[in-house]
Symmetry: C2
Subunit: 210 residues, 2 copies
DNA sequence: TTACTTATGTATCAGATGGTACATAAACTA
DNA sequence: TAGTTTATGTACCATCTGATACATAAGTAA
């Protein structure tokens, strides 16, 4: 089949062509995530990013596209890594346990001394310039998606009788999300784990049947 | 007394010297507040500000100093105007009524269609560039001051027996502030009044004896 | 080898940012 | 009148922003 052998470029397993990349792309993305987390989307300049990533501008653009694309990939990495506790929490057997783990996880992550304080999704949610409006919308959409996942979990809990039949899943989810966002603002403002833990105990007192 | 009449310039009441200012300084400040509220400190460029205020750059600098000083005056105006509900709420007779009015006031203000959505203190809290670090600290300090005022109010409530003797004023205040910040994030993300009202009803269920 | 493909480093771009110099306009004082 | 003081408008500055052009380096494929 001359058509195949000449027209298609059969990529031979892992051996890629051209000069090999001189940096680890995943580690670079982690560094970028760290910078975005600390400074927000607009606060992180390309100079900040390239310095932290240990690469030059053209390498960044070749590997990630542009600043927006890099940020979106950092969002993905955030969701799969540091913020994975959200999806883990949804697997808890009871709605009450779900909420406990969501709030506890939020406080633990946002006040972890190894990370920048606060939450990437909140930190970058309020960024302002019109130029970065697509980013704000993207982050808002992801927050809404997270809230929707919590809402669906509560709907299941209501259906199973784990929550009262007259409970409103949307209201419950919005309340939990609101507290989580508030915790992010507190943490970004310097609140410590010891200060925020009692706050989530308070928040849990609002829970139906507790 | 030649010393007085020659050395000191006796300012004759309201008649100021020099060319009179061609714009209303309070109205200009209101316009600036509006821009900061919508875009945050860093998101509001001087061009945005001067256009909204209807003046040129040099007039802005002559009247307000610089961007930082203008923002601080906008913060003052915010506290005395739109955010005055906080101090009003603290005058309510019971701690429960204080919290109800704080949360209700937050939702009403942050979802008022006449204002930008969200809260100026939260919107500008997470701004990012190192250059505007003083601003972030200033806003954080003002948020802490607000939280402290709420805490003091709850301490009085405990002393008067309005709250249980074993209640922790600091924890209660932190919880209320956290919910308020969360509401601001929600509102900035487009949440409506109808969506947030049930959330504050949820939040109130956590209150001691309710 | 020679061609081809991809990555790197330097040097730079146009545009936006916060902030000003300077000449002029409009009020008051003498 | 002239002199002083303050405000305005134009035009501009140095700096930073995100993003690239271009030559070169370092690999694979034939």
């Amino acid at each position: 089949m001359t058509l195949v052998s000449s027209g298609m470029k059969v990529r031979k397993s892992a051996a890629r062509m051209g000069r090999p990349r001189a940096f680890d792309i995943d580690e670079a993305l982690d560094r970028a995530l760290h910078v975005f987390w600390q400074k927000g989307y607009e606060g992180a300049s390309l100079s900040d990013l390239t310095e932290a990533m240990g690469i030059n501008r053209p390498s960044l653009y070749a590997a990630f596209g542009n600043k927006e694309a890099l940020f979106c990939k950092a969002l993905d990495r955030y969701a799969e890594g540091p913020a994975a506790y959200v999806h883990e929490a949804l697997k808890e057997p009871t709605a009450r346990a779900v909420v406990e783990r969501l709030l506890q996880g939020a406080v633990d992550l946002q006040t972890d001394p190894r990370n920048p304080p606060g939450c990437l999704m909140v930190q970058s949610a309020l960024s302002c310039r019109e130029a970065s409006d697509p980013i704000r919308k993207e982050v808002a959409a992801r927050r809404k998606a997270g809230e929707a996942a919590i809402r669906q979990r509560f709907k299941r809990a209501i259906a199973k009788g784990d929550l009262p039949a007259d409970a409103n899943a949307a209201d419950l989810a919005r309340y939990v999300a609101t507290v989580m966002y508030g915790l992010a603002v507190q943490a970004a403002g310097g609140a410590s784990r010891a200060e925020l833990r009692p706050a989530i105990q308070m928040a849990l007192r609002a829970w139906p049947g507790a």
